[in-house]
Symmetry: C2
Subunit: 218 residues, 2 copies
């Protein structure tokens, strides 16, 4: 495929394709002339992954580059690629050290112990959860801290299924792509479904409308 | 409080405070001189909320402004503020209309019917979920589509608790702030806990390390 055909096949503009090539997110095509290159199915596939991470998953260009570098580094295990992808998805600065942070850390440590989770301190979720719990305490809305056990219970079951379905995959490339899709787009899907479930719960409790007003449109 | 004291109390720089004032995210202080104003506890509280939404919740400035405008519009019901906040959190373009999108819409409509959810087509999660399912089909990783029921089941229980705890709140301002914190920071907390649960599930299945290597650090 020429670059114009690659663009037609994927719906990605030629300008964007050239940008991804410059940034190393897409491997160069095979040179076929002084100013021409030819692209194959691997390029189509990679472009779709790039756009899914950026547009649908909401990752930044920098985060997408890190994830793709991990995919292409065949010395990394699946577990390691999963870690890099989580870092890209769940980011945040180091929490400020104050009393609220100390209490949040204690609370999260107790949760991890209670659930018997194997999680180490470099997990981006560990750091982010501490920061969030400390923030809601400072905001005077500690209700959310009570939800953390509920979230942990829900995510425990979800994560087992998610990881199980990845392991079931065969070839490394496929397993890695499946894992990344699952982590990034799965996170977006979970948020989407949560918004729907919240509307349902809220509509049933707070609104005066009837069920007939609540259908996704025909 | 003078602006410098407001900065000291909240840890937000004077430059940022001035930016939020210009953008209408923070109400002007009471004029005390030609170039001076005085700020109160409501400003401290609002600044903390602004920073929580931006830094911890990961909302954009534009999204944060929309959410705050809804908070300040006392003609909006709690259910409506909740909707605005979801729009700010779960965004995304209209899905491209193709066969994958049509199949994804059908699948989501069946899920909504099966669960008996009251959700209308303007819910941002509805649109986002369709886009995500269509994307994973185009990527050749339809595994995620099988996870949507699992997600829906998990989020159904979570959302009921979340909405229930908001309704329990009393005064409008407090209930609204609690709802926003719950939706935005709750979403971030859920992602954080998911990353931890995934590490646990992945470590137990994929790695050769022992439990002793997996503690959040002493």
């Amino acid at each position: 495929l020429r670059v114009g055909e690659l663009s037609g096949r994927t719906g990605v503009s030629v300008a964007s394709i050239k940008y991804y090539l410059r940034e190393g997110m897409l491997a160069p095509g095979e040179r076929t002339g002084p100013n021409q290159a030819s692209y194959g199915e691997a390029h189509v596939r990679r472009l779709r992954l790039v756009r899914a991470l950026l547009d649908v998953g909401g990752l930044s260009v920098a985060a997408t580059k890190e994830v793709l570098a991990a995919v292409d580094d065949h010395t990394l295990s699946l577990h390691e690629v999963l870690g890099v992808t989580q870092d890209a998805l769940v980011s945040g600065p180091e929490p400020i050290e104050d009393d609220a942070t100390a209490r949040a850390r204690e609370r999260m440590a107790a949760l991890v112990a209670r659930r018997g989770w194997w999680v180490d301190g470099r997990n981006p979720g560990w750091r982010a959860a501490i920061d969030i719990l400390a923030t809601v305490e400072r905001l005077g809305h500690p209700e959310l801290a009570d939800a953390v056990d509920l979230y942990a219970e829900a995510m425990d079951g979800v994560a087992r299924e998610e990881v199980g379905s990845v392991v079931a995959g065969a070839a490394r490339e496929d397993a890695v792509e499946g894992a990344i899709t699952g982590i990034v787009l799965g996170g977006a899907l979970l948020s989407a479904v949560r918004a729907m479930a919240q509307e349902n719960a809220s509509a049933r409790r707070l609104s005066t409308a009837s069920a007939a007003d609540h259908r996704p449109g025909d």
